[in-house]
Amino acid sequence: MLEVRSLRSGYGHIEIVRGLDLSVAPGEVVALVGRNGAGKSTLVNSLMGFVPAHGGSVHVEGRELTRAAPHVRSRAGLAVVPQGRRVFGTLTVEQTLDLAGRSGGWDLDRVAAVFPRLAERRNTRARNLSGGEQSALAMARALATGPRILLLDEPSEGMSPQVLRALSSVIASLRDDGAGVLLVEQNLAFALTVADRVLVMARGHIALTIAGDDARADPDSLSRHLVLQSVATET
């Protein structure tokens, strides 16, 4: 369970996340959409402890983590698949999973069931993998820690349809395990296929919440919200 209250965060004096509330329940998939510059990536980086919180609070499984270091958050059950993948270039696939691995996390066999390519390339250094394979490795690395809450920052970016299908199945099995997922996504179509709830972020806070079924029943209305919102911010 992820519980964020009035979170304020940003770089130096510049506040990008401005009093944001959100929660992700066990087994829930929450999609976060919004135009560029709305603060989505800053929010993810702040939740993982990469960017300091200026105020508000963050709790995971009831534990206060507002000012905790990233490794403390990881041990409390948070994991991130960052934008741009950020794999460890000099480590092989197997070394990466060994390093990230924890009891209760996904081992190489479970990863191989979803990303068979990774198992084939287990002895290849990450920097020599293709872009799609690196995306899969960034996913597998987060899963190896056995997350209770998984933060996904633009995971579909540069993914082949095949890897995208694997991503959907990963999200489904996390949901079955009772883990929560916060999915930051530009690809609205993909976000709609997996989300239980869709949050629209604008100017550093949540501007709108729509149930996944409503968004799926009327996807155009969500698109219109995003367009209207961007028009509203630009004028």
């Binding site: 490794h71 990881s74 950020r86 460890f88 270039g89 000099t90 480590l91 070394q95 990466t96 060994d98």
Partner: protein
């Protein structure tokens, strides 16, 4: 031919001593973006302590224990006092250099007070004090010991970095320390361990070097002159790069001193200039 071999063996021995010194330095830099320029001073301190311990006890084992122990202790004190928890210091060279010079002055003055600025060196154990004849050339055994020690340290570090979980964590930290902490590894703890390892390696070089280049005032700066080129030429943070560059600098220095003694130090910096001109990221790019 014969003279050439002696020059090369001499250069390799010096190069391996420099490698042991720079391997710790390059690991600390690669993981923590921390340039420790005080390694020469720590070498000086451990070399003097090695010689004093041997003179007092007559035991090489006791001298070895004091060398490693004192280097690790200095490393632990420096880490706890100046590095731990000070994230702003990382990747911030100016305060690092100022801090390093402060440490150099303190250590150099302490050794000056205790050893009165006398140049000293460790008498060799009889088992390695002889010489052997290779291809018609006389080579002192201790130079071969130094070469073997360098190869041993390089292989040990290579195994540690490439075959163990600790090594994976270090390499991952060099690649992206933020993501390393995001998978639950405490980067502070890891950096502290690497810091201790780096200083222990300076202790090893103090022990081995005390019978080769010895301990004398000024060596704390001479070592900086030789090891910084190695780190830059090898690629900052790269162990294999440091190994190759140590051989280049050691042999280059030896050849220079034999044939162009007036410009031998210039030769080393010529290697640096050529590297920076053609491969500014160093000979080897990664750990």
């Amino acid at each position: 031919m014969g003279q050439w071999l002696a020059i090369v063996v001499n250069g390799l021995a010096f190069g391996m001593l420099l490698f042991i010194l720079s391997s710790g330095l390059t690991l600390i830099f690669g993981l923590g973006r921390y340039v420790n320029l005080a390694h020469g001073a720590v070498y000086l301190l451990t070399a003097y302590l090695t010689i004093e311990t041997y003179t007092r006890t007559g035991s090489y084992w006791a001298a070895a224990g004091v060398a490693l122990g004192s280097a690790a202790l200095v490393g632990a004190v420096l880490y706890a006092a100046f590095v731990r928890g000070r994230a702003w210091l990382r990747g911030n060279p100016l305060p690092q250099v100022l801090l390093s010079f402060g440490i150099i002055y303190v250590i150099a003055d302490l050794t000056q007070a205790r050893y009165h600025g006398l140049a000293q060196s460790l008498p060799l154990p009889t088992s390695v004090s002889g010489s052997v004849t290779v291809a018609g050339t006389t080579v002192t055994e201790y130079r071969l010991v130094l070469i073997a020690a360098g190869v041993l340290v390089a292989s040990g570090l290579w195994l540690l970095l490439s075959r163990t979980l600790f090594g994976s964590a270090v390499r991952a930290g060099v690649d992206d320390h933020q993501m390393l902490s995001a998978i639950g590894r405490n980067p502070e703890w890891l950096f502290g361990t690497v810091f201790a390892l780096g200083f222990a390696l300076i202790g090893v070089s103090g022990l081995l070097g005390s019978a080769f280049i010895g301990a004398s005032p000024g060596v704390e700066y001479t070592i900086i002159l030789y090891t910084l080129p190695i780190i830059v030429v090898g690629g900052m943070g790269s162990l294999s790069g440091a190994f190759v560059a140590s051989i280049l600098v050691g042999v280059g220095d030896s050849v220079g001193k034999a044939y162009f003694p007036e410009v031998s130090l210039f030769l080393i910096f010529a290697i640096v200039v050529l590297t920076l001109a053609f491969r500014p990221e160093g000979l080897v790019r990664s750990a």
